[in-house]
């Protein structure tokens, strides 16, 4: 007893110490030290993160953390971004809102990713949380501007409304007028809204009265000649996304625009630029020297104009661009932007059979060589070599994210015609902190052997059209100690590796396998023997038991959960049942 008093602090002191610990992972660790720390921590956790909305029930979360103010939820698997998850699969946020609305009205922040959000949910949020401040909807769908109007009208303390990459039913541009005069937004992102009319006057008025506005991302419908007025009303903007950046060249519009951009002395991030007309590009030059982030991934400008622009941006840390930049543009980037940390190059013509631009592995090699701080890469191209990948790996041992997409599946090393196993092997060997990796090209089981051996910090792996046998999957599941998310499509991986590594699945967030060779029988077995997993078979061809058990399932989604099987599944999803009598202890 005496010892205990000597070594323990009063709860309030511990709570104060814990308040400095923000990261979710650290909070989880803290809560596992001992029972009293668990108790103290759970009462003072203010931000809850649920990486898979079906891994836990809303009631459980509320019971454990009775005083949180902010919740972040993720719904559908990542491959839903590419239409691999059929409509109606799930990820509904309403049950969460309903539970939280009842339990406590002081919720301030809701951040959702890949979830189905209905107008009803938005209306319930608007009605239930009096101090609601932040709504971030990322890649969500299911709602319309009516729901947004409810949020605008009722959330008097709203600070952030961010709709990124959402699919919104754009019924009317007038929802913006529902914001009361007193609202003071700090961040507004409506870039995903459709091309239906946006009420420009409402937008201008709103921007004018939000004196603390720091982030504004407009949608494509806002024409070029409206930008100057908007910018002048928000001179303290740090992040700005234009609407359509095209118009007939008129000197008065141009000088107006240039003046507006130069009056925004704090701009660090620019985006938008739909339909970009190069003639208007120099209008942003006054802002370029301070830019750290530039998203030109909707801008169809060619390499020479890009090079001119990039030469104005020596402090760039993040660049998103189309492959019109070509190798020459990337070489210029490598020589001017020495602080570059993140590069994403998107394909301008992803479905074309022939390359339409001169963008090859050379561009990425140049950037890897010229930009010592490069950490995160997403690169679409049409050819690659082991030699290039090894060079890149050696140049950039600090990579945390490396996602390469060679557009044609199973493309070999274009120099040697060999698989790209060695190249990716070098990536995982040299980049010891690699957390995320996406593979492409011709790959055998060998690359998975490298990954299992070296990629010890890897948390997320995406695989497509790769491997020869179950061995490949076995290497990954048995070797990658930090693996949390694994998504696989069109690979010859079947039952053996999955069943042999079943226990691994309990340590991961989720596994997605589509168009592979996992049989229905194996899914059933897995479901029976692993009580803490939900094994979902997704098959639009009809019930899997109408086919022989050895038949491979179309899509398989396995995730760990403490909430048991879900009950909101559509007719084409089956959860394999637990069988308590068959479980291993």
């Amino acid at each position: 007893m005496h010892k205990k008093m000597m070594f323990s602090f009063p709860d309030e002191v511990l709570e104060h110490v814990f308040s400095f610990i923000q990261s979710d992972k650290d909070r989880n660790s803290v809560s596992m030290v001992c029972k009293s720390w668990y108790e103290i921590e759970r009462w003072c956790r203010r931000k809850v993160f649920v990486g898979n909305c079906y891994s836990v029930s809303p009631r459980m979360v509320i019971r454990r953390f009775p005083e949180f103010r902010s919740i972040e939820l993720k719904g559908k698997p990542h491959f839903a971004d590419f239409n691999l998850v059929p409509d109606g699969w799930g990820g509904y946020v309403f049950p969460w809102i309903a539970e939280m609305a009842g339990a406590f009205p002081w919720l301030e922040e809701i951040k959702l990713k890949r979830m189905v959000v209905t107008d009803e949910s938005l209306e319930l949020i608007a009605k239930s949380f009096k101090n609601f401040k932040v709504l971030v909807l990322s890649s969500c769908e299911g709602f319309s501007t009516d729901g947004l109007a409810a949020i605008a009208a009722s959330c008097k303390n709203l600070k952030e409304l961010d709709l990124r990459d959402c699919e919104v039913d754009d019924l009317s541009g007038h929802w913006l007028s529902h914001f009361p005069d007193t609202v003071s937004l700090v961040s507004l992102n409506i870039s995903c809204l459709g091309s239906d009319e946006v009420s420009f006057s409402a937008l201008e008025r709103l921007v004018g009265r939000c004196t603390n506005l720091r982030t504004l991302r407009l949608n494509r419908a806002v024409p070029l000649d409206k930008i100057a007025n908007i910018l002048r009303r928000a001179p303290h903007l740090v992040e700005f996304g234009t609407g359509t950046y095209a118009a007939d060249l008129r000197p008065d519009v141009y000088s107006d625009l240039a003046g507006a951009f130069s009056s925004c002395k704090e701009l660090k991030s620019l985006s938008g630029f739909w339909d970009l007309v190069p003639a208007y590009l120099p209008a942003i030059y006054p802002a370029c020297s301070k830019l750290t982030s530039l998203n030109l991934s909707y801008a169809t400008i060619q390499s020479p104009d890009l090079i001119k622009l990039l030469s104005q941006c020596p402090n760039l840390q993040r660049l998103l661009v189309l492959d019109y930049i070509e190798d020459s543009g990337l070489e210029a980037l490598a020589s001017t932007c020495k602080d570059l940390q993140e590069l994403r190059v998107f394909p301008s013509d992803p479905f074309g059979a022939e390359p339409n631009v001169s963008l090859t592995e050379r561009g990425l090699v140049a950037v890897s060589s010229g930009c010592p701080k490069l950490q995160s890469v997403l690169y679409f191209c049409r050819r690659m070599s082991n030699e290039a990948l090894v060079t890149i790996a050696k140049n950039c041992p600090n990579f945390t994210r490396f996602r390469l997409c060679i557009i044609e599946p199973r493309t070999a090393d274009y120099l040697t015609l060999e698989p790209l196993d060695v190249g990716f092997g070098a990536i995982v060997q040299y980049c010891k902190d690699l957390q995320r990796l996406s593979l492409s090209g011709l790959l055998t089981d060998r690359v998975f052997e490298y990954i299992g051996t070296y990629a010890k910090k890897l948390e997320m792996l995406s695989v497509a059209f790769a491997g020869d046998s179950d061995l490949g999957l076995h290497h990954v599941l048995s070797g990658c100690e930090s693996l949390r998310k694994l998504e696989i499509r069109d690979c010859p991986f079947g039952d053996k590796a999955l069943l042999a590594n079943a226990a691994k699945l309990d340590t991961m967030r989720s596994l997605w396998m589509s168009s592979c060779a996992v049989s229905f029988g194996a899914c059933k077995l897995l479901g029976q023997k692993m009580p803490r997993l939900n094994v979902e078979v997704i098959d639009e061809r009809g019930p899997p038991d109408s086919r022989p058990e050895s038949c491979p399932v179309d899509k398989l989604y396995i995730y760990r959960t403490v909430a048991g099987p879900r009950f909101d599944m559509p007719p084409f999803v089956w959860t394999m049942e637990d069988d308590p009598s068959l479980q291993l202890s």
Binding site: D349, F351, C405, G425, P492, K504
Partner: protein, 221 residues
Amino acid sequence: MELQLGLALPTTPFSPFGYELKQGPFHNNGSCSSSSSSSGGSNKRRGGFDEDTRVVPKTLRLLLWNTNQRNGEDDDPNDLDDHSSSAILKNGGEGLVGWPPVKAWRKKLRRHVHNGRANNNRMAAAAAGNNSCGGRAFSNSTYVKVKMEGNAIARKIDLSVHRSFESLTSTLKRMFDISEEQWRKSFKLAYQDREGDWLLAEDVPWRTFIRSLKCIKLVRS
């Protein structure tokens, strides 16, 4: 054959093929079976995971199967081919679903991008060539939204299974529970095209309809 499940006894971690990765092609001096047998003296400590649930089963013996026999019971390449080719054909021969992995949101914008460039030849070729849902050459989704006037809930319909107005309207009637009589008397099929204009489907041929439509609405006449 009962397969081992759950926590198999952890074996000593196998040492990797013990050579440095060199630039350029290098010699393949270890097949999986040889590397798995050299299990001693590995310096890859699995520290910190011993007693908790993160022990991963190392069922190395499984590695010895299948290295030479690719045509084992489970791995019939023909089965796989059938399976993957069905994924390609599923989309009306349009191409692989979800590949390349470009977000649907970007694909929609890509359409506009190409309208501005001299790429109409390519679009026409794709439309004529291998897809029945021509206009959606840039999108691998064959689902479109359908709304009924007066009904708040939008549905989605898979266009790739339809080849004519008859088949489409009969599905729509079923979906919205509209009788043949009601349909003839009070409904018309309207659609929004790529330019955002609303048109009546009865005014255009099926091919034009399919290639240019963005979404469908059942309007009351």
